[in-house]
């Protein structure tokens, strides 16, 4: 038989039991501590995400000033800090927010605007002349037209006779277009003419491939004239030319900002761009611009020869079968030294908003809102003022999704998110 002689056996047993119990309890303590830390960490990250969203909200406040931009500021309710960068990017507003606490650091960037006014399809000014309609015409949304109303016209072998179907959509125009906010135009002028050493980083050549995050400084490429031919450029990049920028159709551009006197997109180009020109923007046939793109022609510099009686024509010109998703803006300076026109050609498709302080030549399908003083239609044989040919204007189709730039001073809408960058 196996016999163990153990002296003081009860004490040994109790010590062994105590040791086992303490090991088990330590394991429980460790698991609980680990769980608590994970949950605390998760709570901290959740709150930091809300602080990031709060940063975007702060950027919309009228009390948010330039001197607070790009500096860390503590949130009023806890120890999280946010840093906000807000600047115009084409016609839209770019907001970049970083948020940090003791454990985490997160960032977010977006293009912002306001929800499109779904009731306004066409807004013109009172000119005491009727609008002539020819071809396939359809309105879905209110059209603010001159008191003289609408009439049938015969253009290029087509006419439009069903005037009664459009009458429910017609309202009386006012004497002026809604005014573009002066501060908005000042920002456009500033971005055309100034560089900031705090936010911009000048480079001397055009790289073949570059994707620059909005969390870093903006890469600025500056030259007299620029030709973009096989480059792939994305995000936080500004290309500035004092004369002309030409973009070939094999160039890939995404969210890039182009600033020049004149910009030309060659036939078949596809991309998302934001363009600010002083003279004109020309897009050849078959170009497609994805949402949210923006074209803007604005020049506040006085003409070199102001005594001339000839008023130059500036504006945005599209070729046939182009598609544009975003905002088109052609606005005159206060002196009205030139005439502005936005010309949309045959089979054009616009999803967004258009504002011309003078003329608009409309053809194709427009899903959004159009603001212009007068209509101008150019055919191979003649030029017609205040005429529409083969035009669909529908402000309601995409009104729930579309976000357009906040141009008007009386628009107190909250900024909406157009695209995450």
């Amino acid at each position: 038989m196996f016999r163990i002689k153990l002296k003081g056996g009860a004490l040994y047993v109790s010590v062994i039991i105590a040791i086992l119990t303490s090991i088990i309890l330590s394991l429980f303590l460790f698991i609980a501590h680990f769980n608590t830390r994970t949950i605390q960490s998760q709570k901290s990250l959740e709150q930091l995400r809300l602080s990031l969203v709060s940063g975007f909200e702060i950027a919309q406040s009228i009390y948010f000033q330039d001197n607070k931009a790009n500096h860390w500021q503590k949130m009023p309710y806890n120890n999280d800090s946010v840093r906000i960068k807000k600047m115009p990017w084409g016609c839209y507003t770019l907001i970049d927010v970083s948020a940090k606490n003791n454990h985490f650091f997160i960032q977010g960037t977006g293009l912002y605007g306001v929800k499109i006014t779904k009731d306004t399809a066409l807004f013109m000014t009172e000119r005491n002349r009727p609008i002539g309609l020819a071809g396939k015409i359809k309105f879905n949304g209110f059209c603010y037209l001159p008191k003289a109303g609408i009439k049938s016209a015969y253009i290029e072998g087509s006419t439009f006779s069903d005037l009664n179907s459009l009458k429910p959509f017609i309202k009386e125009a006012s004497s002026d277009l809604p005014i573009i906010t002066e501060s908005y135009l000042k920002e456009l002028s500033k971005i055309q003419n100034e560089l900031s050493p705090h936010t911009d980083s000048l480079v001397s050549f055009v790289p073949d491939i570059l994707d620059n995050s909005f969390h870093h400084k903006t890469v600025v490429i500056q030259s007299g004239s620029v030709v973009l031919n096989t480059q792939t450029l994305k995000n936080n990049i500004k290309i500035i030319a004092s004369n002309l920028i030409t973009i070939e159709n094999n160039c890939q551009l995404e969210n890039v900002l182009l600033i020049a006197k004149k910009i030309v997109f060659k036939k078949g180009f596809k991309g998302t761009v934001h363009v600010i020109a002083k003279d004109s923007i020309i897009s050849e046939n078959g170009c497609e611009f994805d949402y949210p793109s923006s074209f803007c022609v604005y020049n506040d510099n006085p003409l070199s020869n102001p005594k001339t009686t000839y008023q130059p024509i500036r504006g945005i010109f599209f070729g046939e079968a182009c598609k544009f998703n975003g905002a088109l803006l052609a606005v005159n300076d206060n002196n009205k030294q030139s005439k502005m026109i936005i010309k949309l050609n045959k089979h054009f498709e616009l999803t967004g908003t258009l504002y011309s302080s003078d003329y608009a030549s409309l053809q194709g399908n427009m899903y959004g809102s159009i603001f212009c003083q007068n209509l101008l239609l150019q055919t191979p044989s003649a030029v017609y003022e205040n005429h529409l040919l083969d035009c669909l204007i529908d402000s309601k189709k995409y009104s729930n999704e579309l976000v357009v730039p906040n141009w008007f001073s009386n628009n107190k809408q909250k900024l909406n998110f157009a695209k995450k960058l």
Binding site: L29, S51, I58
Partner: protein, 112 residues
């Protein structure tokens, strides 16, 4: 004479004391851990807080209010921001009756 082998009385008493002490301590620590962690409760509270936060922002219902849901008490408070007077601070606190707060969520909202 037979020799009887056994443990001395003080030895047994000491053993009993050690075992009872470690058992009671173990039970106390375990019940404390159970009460304080309860991760599933905190996850549930977090979900409820997010739901009420999202609802408040969507409906733009910027008024103080108290709610009850699934044994939780939800308290919503609104306060103007000092630095940005056109913004409000929305705070959602979730707790259980007679227990300390499970979760607090706060967000600044532009509410012109």
């Amino acid at each position: 004479m037979r020799k009887l082998k056994g443990n001395a009385l003080p030895e047994v008493l000491i053993a009993i004391v050690i075992i009872s002490f470690t058992s009671v301590l173990g039970l106390l620590i375990y019940s404390n851990i159970q009460q304080n962690t309860q991760p599933f409760q905190i996850i549930k509270a977090n979900e409820i807080a997010h739901t009420y936060l999202k609802e408040t922002i969507e409906k733009q219902d910027y008024f103080d209010a108290d709610f009850k849901e699934d044994d939780f008490i939800i308290k919503k408070t609104i306060q103007r921001s000092d630095a940005y007077p056109d913004c409000i601070i929305l705070k959602i606190s979730v707790s259980k009756p007679n227990e300390k707060k499970k979760i607090d969520l706060q967000q600044l909202i532009y509410a012109n």
